[in-house]
Symmetry: C2
């Protein structure tokens, strides 16, 4: 392969943009659902309100993405539909069983997804690159989750091992589902291969994702 | 009794304001929960996003009320706590069993609650009166629920009777719970008696609530 520079066909690029906005739009909708569900496990009213607030932020992002899809002449529901099964599958396989599992999922799972989408966004033309980067801005998960999880581990250090295992399961499931999504969407796969350049580029992308994941795990007080 | 004019003690009024902001703040949090739950019953992705959007609006209102409580030197969780049992009781007793029941509950139940809180708000001093009126502004429920429910009844007229019965159950349960709330909160009860003037004033308030409820039921295509 080497340094062969590929340029995406305009129509392929347009379809890839629609696919990325579609998957992100549905991801925000499921994030809303899951955060709303996990909010009910909160041990305090303040924690419950905090998670509900994060859920609301996801919907604001969903709306921005949907509005852009409409601008591109695409029905948001049509753009989301191809990704419903994979994303629902991920959430069904990784339903949080406790308040802490929910927080780890919100921080570690969403963090990984966010990093991945942000990498893909750099391959997009404007204004979509800017829009994706904007809706991926932290909605306040990070600080809140880190504070709560660290406090829980400080109070009961045996939690750390269990939660680290849970985080590893999340990552495994996320990889399985994202491979399936990319394999089924040629334009998105094309966009990524063109953007990364070659397989070595894909490898570097995965290294960056893994490094950032490790930083997040350590911030929570968990072994990556 | 007659036309005796009563003026609330400043401290009693302050406590009544905190109680009203507390109950409303928790009402918005439970409304978020319930809308988020009902969103999952939506027959379409567009309907699901619409309900999620309404849920997000409730959280924005919750935040405004909580911020005002903090300004008044009160922990929002403390202000909400006394109302958790009554409001959770209402929602547990009236869990929507279908998408349409959820919409009727959102429109008829929230409409009634909104009218009631708005009446009480007129007895409040500024800036709290303005704040309550603002957070009670329609979050888009009305049009959406009316459109969906009317369409469903047009497609299957037998739905109308069942949904009207459901709405009557909601109103009965709401009356039971709100009487319990007022009976347990002397300052709120004092505020209402002072505001309405006397029992005749309470009677007129109930008449206004009933009339507005009838208008909402008819808009949905249901017999009040």
């Amino acid at each position: 392969m080497g340094a062969e520079v590929r340029v995406l066909d305009v129509e392929v690029q347009r379809r890839a943009v629609v696919e990325l906005l579609g998957v992100l739009s549905y991801a925000e909708l499921t994030a809303f659902d899951r955060l709303a569900e996990d909010a009910r496990m909160a041990p305090t009213l303040a924690g419950r309100a905090a998670l509900a607030r994060m859920a609301a932020a996801e919907i604001a992002h969903h709306d921005r993405l949907s509005a852009r899809l409409v601008e591109l002449g695409v029905d948001p529901a049509d753009a989301m539909a191809p990704f419903v099964a994979a994303l629902d599958g991920f959430h069904d396989q990784t339903r949080a069983g406790s308040w802490l599992e929910g927080l780890v999922k919100a921080h570690v799972g969403d963090g990984l997804a966010t990093d991945f989408y942000r990498e893909v966004a750099t391959f997009l033309p404007q204004p979509d690159r800017g829009l994706v980067e904007e809706v991926l801005a932290d909605t306040g998960h990070a600080d809140f989750a880190v504070r709560e999880v660290r406090a829980a581990i400080a109070a009961d250090p045996t939690q750390a091992g269990r939660l680290a295992l849970w985080a590893r399961r999340l990552v495994g499931e996320a990889l399985t589902q994202s491979q399936a999504v990319i394999a089924e969407h040629d334009d998105l796969a094309d966009l990524m291969m063109t953007g990364t350049g070659d397989l070595a580029g894909v490898g570097k992308l995965l290294q960056r994702l893994t490094a950032a994941h490790g930083v997040r795990m350590k911030a929570l007080g968990l072994n990556p």
